[in-house]
């Protein structure tokens, strides 16, 4: 780890990509994500990397596909409407089994919505967004430091699974400033790119010929292809679940499930409630897909726990997954806002007290 610096989340995400050995960045500016592009416009030339601003997010998605298909480590950043435009390419990239990292700094929606923080793209990220049977591995940072750490593992994970990985941060993650340290540099070359890259046989360590495609006209072949993809998503569920448990050693009366910066508001509320003698626990999913199903199921099942609340800056998206995990063992409620005003610790405390 190096010297501590003070960085905006968007800048830190850009720097983390460079440290993670990603020197190919394609993007289109959109608030509240544009500082990544501004930062990398300055930094990429310094490190011999490339930043190309596409003419639209649709183009950017396919620039990633092309570069990844040729074996380059690639990433992009955008915000909600931009990710909608990229979603077709994400489906193609998943179908063709190419690695790529997408960062979504979510703003309020639907449509143009607003520029303030939101978590309204949970469904889009976790349940699809684009067409067909694919999944992205989705990680949700709660701090600038965690955004950096997730960026550092996003590239190796994308390559391990040959699949798109998404870092899902709300607008605050992109805009707030926090002290941050960067881990040491990774190598710039995906170690397993012989498995998929169509980059010319002279660059190949093996004689295997690669074809980058997502078209399978034969029904049996397409079904087998989807079974192969499914097996990767099942393996993610076995190997990649990450979550943080907060105050779950206590005999909590209520369990919060919350992610991203919203979870930090919840932590303050939990600390304040503790001072009032009310114990509340929290599971914070760090991966939204794969979702920490067992952890939430077990935490909800603790004898002291009477109810579960999904607290999210959306109109109730993650709550559907929480209900799925709790399996009716406890009542599951939802609280959230999605206009851009982040719920305050006092609001969360009030909601929890009303529920117990």
């Amino acid at each position: 780890m190096g010297k501590k610096v003070l960085m905006k989340g968007n800048e830190a995400i850009g720097e983390a990509a460079i440290r993670a050995g990603c020197l190919n960045y394609f993007a289109y500016p959109i608030t509240p994500q544009s500082e990544v592009a501004e930062y990398l416009a300055k930094r990429m030339p310094e490190v011999g990397g490339v930043f190309v601003q596409g003419e639209s997010e649709v183009a950017v998605g396919y620039m990633l596909f092309g570069a990844s298909g040729a074996g380059a480590r690639v990433f992009t950043t955008s915000s909600s409407p931009g990710i909608s435009l990229m979603s077709e390419a994400i489906s193609y990239i998943a179908g063709a089994q190419c690695p790529a990292v997408f960062v979504n700094i979510i703003r309020g929606g639907p449509g143009l919505g607003g520029i303030l923080p939101s978590q309204g793209d949970y469904f889009q990220s976790v349940k699809g967004g684009g067409h067909g049977d694919y999944r992205m591995l989705v990680m949700a940072p709660a701090s600038v430091q965690e955004a950096v750490e997730m960026m550092m593992v996003a590239f190796p994970l994308a390559e391990k699974y040959r699949n798109p990985v998404m870092i899902l941060g709300d607008g605050l993650i992109g805009q707030m400033m926090e002290p941050v340290e960067f881990p040491d540099q990774l190598s710039t070359e995906p170690s397993n790119k012989d498995d998929w890259a169509a980059n010319g046989m002279e660059y190949r360590r093996s004689d295997k010929r690669n074809l980058v495609k997502s078209l399978y006209l034969d029904p049996e072949q397409l079904n087998n292809h989807n079974l192969l993809l499914k097996s990767k998503y099942e393996r993610m569920k076995q190997e990649e679940i990450r979550y943080e448990a907060y105050n779950t050693d206590s005999d909590y009366i209520s369990l919060i499930v919350s992610y991203g910066t919203m979870s930090r508001v919840c932590k303050t509320a939990i600390d304040n409630l503790k001072e009032e003698g009310i114990e509340v626990g929290m599971i914070r999913p760090q991966t939204l897909f794969p979702f920490p199903e067992t952890a939430i199921h077990d935490a909800a099942g603790k004898p002291s726990c009477k109810s579960v609340m999904s607290i999210e800056m959306s109109m109730g998206q993650m709550v559907e997954d929480v209900e799925r995990c709790v399996k009716g063992n406890r009542p599951v409620g939802w609280y959230g806002k999605c206009g851009g005003d982040v719920p305050t610790p006092e609001e969360i405390m009030h909601v929890i007290k009303e529920g117990i």
Binding site: V5, G114, L116, G171, P179, V265, P345
Partner: protein, 237 residues
């Protein structure tokens, strides 16, 4: 905590706050406004940040109002618009700055461009343009980086930087030695640029751990106002 025990911050008339992205211009502007108001100066503030979507002076509008500080903002319905709106009232603020008018510009040359649009209003008036420097930020961790930002801001704003503000901090992780190190850095920048050091800053709760006598400039105490929603802004002094 009274930092003026050492040296007084002596600013009057129109003071423009510039600097690179995230150097802390807005936190400095808000705290300077309240500090000067409490010292008996009539203070007005103009939010000229047209490039940053979050954490702008407008977030502290209630606090400034409570202190009787006039804050000039775009019309309410455009406060959260992603548009470069410059309210004509800024022109009025420049014409009638009162004892002290603080103009808080956006970051980098891009954020300072708005000042060039005010050139007609600013022509013939005495303006102090202060460059805020935090050496813990990317691109201003070297003297060359600070000089480059200064040149870019001057070219974009059509103003000449006249002084420096040392704002070395890592927010909650700041130690007294970070502030001392930052002071030494900004002194070197001052020597290299020929620009006087107007003041440095330090979080109020760090002041008692600093040897204020070692600084040859005033120290503005900072009570953090631009905080994320899980934190409470600090009560003013």
């Amino acid at each position: 905590m009274d930092a003026s025990k050492n040296h007084r911050i002596d600013l009057k008339g129109i003071v423009v706050i510039v600097g690179n992205y995230g150097s802390g211009k807005t936190e400095v502007a808000i705290n300077l406004a309240i500090f000067e108001k409490k010292a008996g100066t009539d203070v007005r503030v103009g939010d000229l940040d047209l490039v940053n979507p979050y954490f702008r002076t407008r977030e502290a509008r209630t606090l400034l109002k409570d202190h009787g500080i006039d804050l000039v903002l775009p019309p309410k319905q455009y406060l959260y618009a992603d548009l470069p709106i410059l309210t004509p009232e800024i022109g009025g603020l420049i014409q009638h700055p009162g004892e002290l008018a603080i103009l808080d510009a956006g970051g980098d040359d891009v954020g300072a461009t708005v000042l060039a649009a005010l050139a007609d209003h600013l022509r013939g008036r005495t303006v102090q343009t202060l460059q805020v420097v935090n050496p813990f930020r990317p691109f201003t961790d070297s003297i060359d980086g600070c000089l480059k930002i200064r040149r870019e801001i001057e070219a974009a704003s059509k103003l000449t930087v006249t002084g420096l503000v040392g704002n070395a901090n890592l927010i909650d992780d700041t130690t007294p030695s970070d502030i001392e190190e930052g002071y030494e850095f900004v002194k070197r920048f001052s020597a290299a640029s020929g620009l006087p050091l107007s003041f440095i800053t330090a979080a109020t709760d760090l002041l008692h751990r600093l040897d204020l006598g070692r600084f040859t400039c005033p120290v503005l105490p900072i009570n953090r106002q631009l905080v994320p929603p899980w934190r409470r802004s600090e009560p003013d002094y």
